[in-house]
């Protein structure tokens, strides 16, 4: 394995919540602990998947990496440099290296911009390409890279003239114009039709191989994660509960939460229309303001022991490269 491009150490993001007058007088603080101490490394040229239910903090993690949010604690180390707290000017430089693809291709583009404007804007902001001709070269290259061929035709189109899949290609092209080394993709295919979903993932994978990029792929869908990623981290309420190779995590699951997630995935196998599937989990995800003591999963876990209610488990390496945070 090559050098890690990104190292995250004990990263926290707590959002303050408006306090009641009594809490104010008592000096109590109330926090939503969206990300509560996560540590992981992403290697150069790797596709790293972050999986979890909504509200588990996966998008917040993505935003922290993009420096769209200021972390409450912990460290982000990118290419050996500490980027946890950066000044405005340096953030801009950092973002040339780390780019993001958003979830909703319908909302992430200005409807009055042609694809050309969408792609040119980052170049102007970052002062890449002196002349229009130079910028055009870059734009053509990235459009070709995402398989929008011929580029001339797509450059002139407005977002409403593109299908969802094509928009997501433009969004990917927009990240490529700055030739970043890492891309944060926040549920890039969850809004797209199934038939195009595979096509977009395929395109993203090809681009990644051709340009040697690193991806952080954020998703709630384990089946695409398995196909797309090299390693998976499963998050629950702001913590990583299991981390390992994609095949390892899915075929040799250790944490009860991951097991429940896997059991819940639908698969195209015949003859199940009359059976009710057991999902080994209770209730719904609790609020992040009021995190249960001990293991945060214990109220929903079917195998919880008394120990789970008191002690918080730590992420330990069970097999090589496969970490789990559970007392069992």
């Amino acid at each position: 394995m090559s050098e890690p491009i990104l190292k995250i150490e004990n990263l926290h993001k707590w959002f303050p919540v408006r306090r009641t007058i009594i809490q104010l007088l008592k000096g109590e603080h109330v926090w939503v602990k969206a990300v509560d101490g996560i540590t992981f490394k992403i290697n150069q040229g790797e596709i790293f998947g972050l999986v979890g239910e909504s509200g588990c903090g996966k998008t917040t993690t993505g935003k922290l990496l993009m420096k769209l949010l200021e972390p409450t604690g912990g460290k982000i180390i990118f290419k050996g440099k500490d980027v946890t707290h950066l000044e405005e000017s340096k953030i801009k430089k950092y973002r040339r290296n780390v780019q993001m693809v958003f979830q909703d291709p319908y909302a992430s583009m200005n409807p009055r911009f042609r694809a050309w404007d969408v792609l040119e804007e980052p170049l102007i902001i970052h002062q890449v390409g002196e002349t229009r001709a130079e910028r055009e070269k870059i734009i053509r290259f990235s459009l070709k890279e995402v398989r929008l061929i011929p580029p001339e035709e797509f450059m002139e189109r407005f977002p409403h003239m593109l299908s969802g899949g094509q928009r997501q290609r433009v969004a990917t092209a927009r990240t490529l114009v700055l030739s970043p080394s890492m891309i944060v993709a926040d549920e890039p295919v969850s809004m797209i039709d199934l038939s195009t979903r595979a096509e977009i993932l395929h395109m993203m994978k090809t681009v990644q191989r051709e340009l040697g990029l690193t991806y952080l792929y954020i998703t709630h869908d384990l089946s695409t994660a398995r196909y797309f990623t090299d390693r998976i981290a499963v998050m629950y309420l702001g913590k990583i509960v299991e981390l390992g190779g994609a095949d390892e995590v899915i075929d040799n699951t250790l944490h009860p939460y991951t097991k429940a997630l896997i059991a819940a995935v639908c698969e195209p196998i015949p003859g199940k229309s009359n059976t009710i599937k057991e999902i080994p989990i209770k209730g719904e995800i609790p609020s992040a303001t009021n995190i249960p003591p001990g293991c945060r999963f214990h109220p929903r876990c079917l195998y919880a022991k008394p120990q789970c209610q008191e002690e918080e488990p730590t992420l330990i390496e069970v097999e090589e490269g496969h970490y789990v945070s559970c007392h069992l």
Binding site: S54, T196, A198, A260, A263, C266, P268, P270, K272, S273
Partner: protein, 326 residues
């Protein structure tokens, strides 16, 4: 098919939308039937006419859409000639009800759950308040919600709970059929599985017939007894769950491709296949078979003639020239 236990029968339904660009043939000549206690799955890409078809069943196609021809028989009676008032009194929510796409956003944020559900009852039936309330609690318990929910507002509930409320509301007037339009798409996997289980349980308990719409073949495998695959306003394959997902597999190239594009959890695939191109513009649908520009097994005939829906084995129908022998 002259089954008497068909509670719904659709014959040659056509729905057009008149737009500035021309007529859009959103639903073109669709026939199917639904038996008592059966779940049928309607699958297809977005824009293929799934939602329009079921809106047609309730006669709720938004303008400029219009039902051009065809018959919709509910318990043997055609509902197309019925007036709006008759529809409300006799059909909607009494015979068929619907769980809408993005149902969680269907609830008004300013009313309590109880008030919104009560509204449904009062629109359709005369019932004493206390009796209605009792019934409401009954149905809320049935979908696994506590009783105190009637005093709560939608923002206090999670996505899964809101979806349960919407399902309870749909069942309220004891319809025979429920249409679920992508009820699980916006939900998390675990909640998704819980809602699917709920629908299955209710179906068994109440003997409901369900039309389940989704674009995800994997979800459909879990719920549907029979599958209708739609492409560009037409049915391309109709078959039983075992026929489509089983060993024989789907026969129509479109269903086959769609199934191959579905990622599976327990199989490591190096490359997922996908369907090249995009669904056609329905103002000017392609000649012959509507799928032919994207089909990998296209023949000369596909470009000229439109394939009819033909029976290949009992209860398995395909619209493809490849399976047409004679």
């Amino acid at each position: 098919m002259a089954d008497t236990n068909n509670i719904l029968k659709v014959e040659k339904l056509k729905i057009n939308f008149l737009t500035r660009k021309g007529k859009v043939y959103a639903v073109d000549d669709i026939s199917f039937s639904l038996k008592k206690g059966e779940t049928i799955g309607l699958v297809g890409e977005s824009g293929c006419g799934k939602t329009t078809t079921v809106l047609g069943l309730m006669k709720m196609v938004p303008t400029p859409g219009e039902i051009i021809s065809g018959r919709i028989l509910i318990d043997g009676k055609d509902i197309i000639p019925l007036s709006e008032n008759e529809m409300r009194e006799k059909v909607r929510w009494v015979k068929i009800s619907m769980v809408f796409q993005g149902a969680m956003n269907c609830l008004t944020p300013v009313y309590t759950i109880g008030k919104q559900m009560m509204e449904t009852i009062q629109e359709h039936k005369e019932m004493a308040y206390s009796q209605a309330k009792k019934k409401m609690i009954n149905y809320l318990n049935l979908v696994g919600l506590p009783e105190d929910i009637i005093r709560r507002y939608p923002h206090e509930l999670s996505g899964g709970m809101k979806q349960r409320v919407v399902i309870a509301t749909a069942l309220f007037l004891e319809p025979d059929m429920v249409i679920c339009d992508e009820p699980t798409t916006a939900l998390d996997v675990v909640v998704q599985a819980q809602i699917i289980n709920l629908i299955k349980r209710l179906k068994k308990k109440l003997g409901l017939s369900v039309i389940f719409i989704t674009h995800d073949l994997a979800t459909e495998a879990e719920v549907a007894d029979r599958l209708l695959v739609m492409y560009a306003g037409k049915l391309v394959e109709v078959g039983k769950n075992e026929q489509v997902y089983g060993k024989g597999g789907p026969i129509h190239p479109y269903t086959e491709k769609l199934l191959k594009a579905t990622p599976r959890l327990h199989e490591k695939v190096e490359e997922l296949s996908f369907i090249p191109g995009t669904p056609p513009d329905l103002v000017d649908p392609p000649s012959g078979c509507r799928f032919h520009p994207r089909c990998s097994e296209v023949m000369e005939r596909c470009k000229k003639d439109e394939p009819p829906l033909i029976k290949v084995e009992p209860e398995h129908w395909i619209a493809c020239w490849r399976s047409y022998h004679e």
